[in-house]
Amino acid sequence: MAFFEVRDIVKYFGGLAAVNRVSFEVQEGQIYGLIGPNGSGKTTIFNLINGYFHLNKGQIWFQGEKISGLKTHQICQRGIGRTFQVVKPLKRMTVLDNVIASAFLRHHSRAEAQAWAEATIHFCGLTHFKDKVAKSLPIASRKRLEIARSLATRPKLILLDETAAGLNPHELEEAIALIKKIRDSGITVIIVEHIMKVIMSISDRIVAINHGMVITEGTPTEVASNPEVIKAYFGEDYRA
């Protein structure tokens, strides 16, 4: 039994199959990459895992339990955290309060929640911004706040949605280091990313998606050399 498994999931928006019979398995401790051109259905898959959208067909299993059909907050309680591509900071709260609100999921006393929130903020390198109001943060820190808030719920699996988009090269290096640190702390990671440098250098396995369907699945080198992937990204002319 795989740690996390998506089985034949289908999602229609009207007549359009945004996600069409997608299946993949993730082993515990992996960094698993999800790639595909714009509009190929990556974020939709996250929204399906997360319970934000309902599945039309298929099942999602996590640690031997079927989680498809559960509500978003129940899925978070089972141990799946997520970040949003379009960041959703709790704007008028400080960074610390943002993370405390999350930490309350596993720590019921205020003091414990605060201690765990501070540790998480430190882990994500946000200590400097701790008392700043979330809406005043620059984008790179907002993305880190998304991660910190998700980690504060003590997930076993975290879904990172384009956490490296819009960052400068220096911030990118830091983001890669942080994602590796998360994996090393024992949390399995599924990552959606456009920046090939990031996804190729950190993923253990990758699934490539186009038009809501799986093109190929394998190690980064296998996926990068797959002619269908090259076609999806660069068009017919670059076909190997």
Binding site: T72, K91, S150
Partner: protein, 335 residues
Amino acid sequence: MKRPSGPLLLLVFLLIFPLIFREGYYQHLMILVLMWVAIGSGWNLISGYTGQVLFGAAAFFGVGAYTAALLSSKLELSAWWGLPLGGLLSVAIAFPFGWICFRLRGPYFALATLALNEIFRHIATIWESLTDGMIGILVMQTFISKVPYYYVALATAILSIVGVDYVIRSRWGYYFVSIREDQDAAESMGIDTLYYKMVSLCLSAFLIGITGALYTNYMGFIDPKVVFSLHDISIMAILVGIVGGVGTIYGPTVGAFIMVAVQEIFRTGGFGLLNAIGKATGWPFMTTVTKYISEAHVLSFGLLVIVVILFLPNGIVGDWGIIKKIFVRSKKPAV
């Protein structure tokens, strides 16, 4: 040490207020202010902190008021039992209402609460065998003096402020504010948003319901038009919250003082000033003006909201820094 001194001074003042001001009129006004502190705090919890705008505070206020009145008129119990029971009955109504209507977001939820307000007003009007309809219900007052009512109202106001403050510092408070800031983010943080919105609404309904029951005990008479009033209760509750400061602990207190004062100034035509001018000058049109102004207090509410939203969007308590700056700057223009 310096920060809580303001509220503490106010508390001391309020404790000795009836000893200084022995005139019934001033005591009456202060009782109204204290009741509005409690209603405003209740409104603030669901609308200010949880971000779910309650347009129908009168539904809970009226249910509390009618609970007290019916206990006395139908069951011949003391109307004071209405305080706990009216609060609980409001919660009993808030619970199913929230369970159904919290699937609606933003303005749609606000409209549903408006509908709840109207539904209860019509029930109280039409169900004459129970409520005597528009005739209203008369309850024998327990005390002739206003002082006992004053202290009960003060206790209710303190309970509501301390209660809201306690809740907001707790896990619940963090959840309420998270829901206000971003409901989708809150869900993905593992917060059962439907459940916590209902918790917040029930706490609000309890505070507003208690105050409704207190109103019956104090005024001795209620009818559907008064206690289920859209503009005198529901809208007034929103104004107390907005003017004082949405999502602040002491906002409803400041808002209650200002709104009761505004209402009273208009109702009495500037404490009889307009009337006096009319008599002194003998101009007949002054009488007309006086009559219209006292009826136009709802209009003044509208103007006040426009001014507050334009210049102090976070209310007087929320934008205290801005207000302070204006005064400091006018004193020392060089800096």
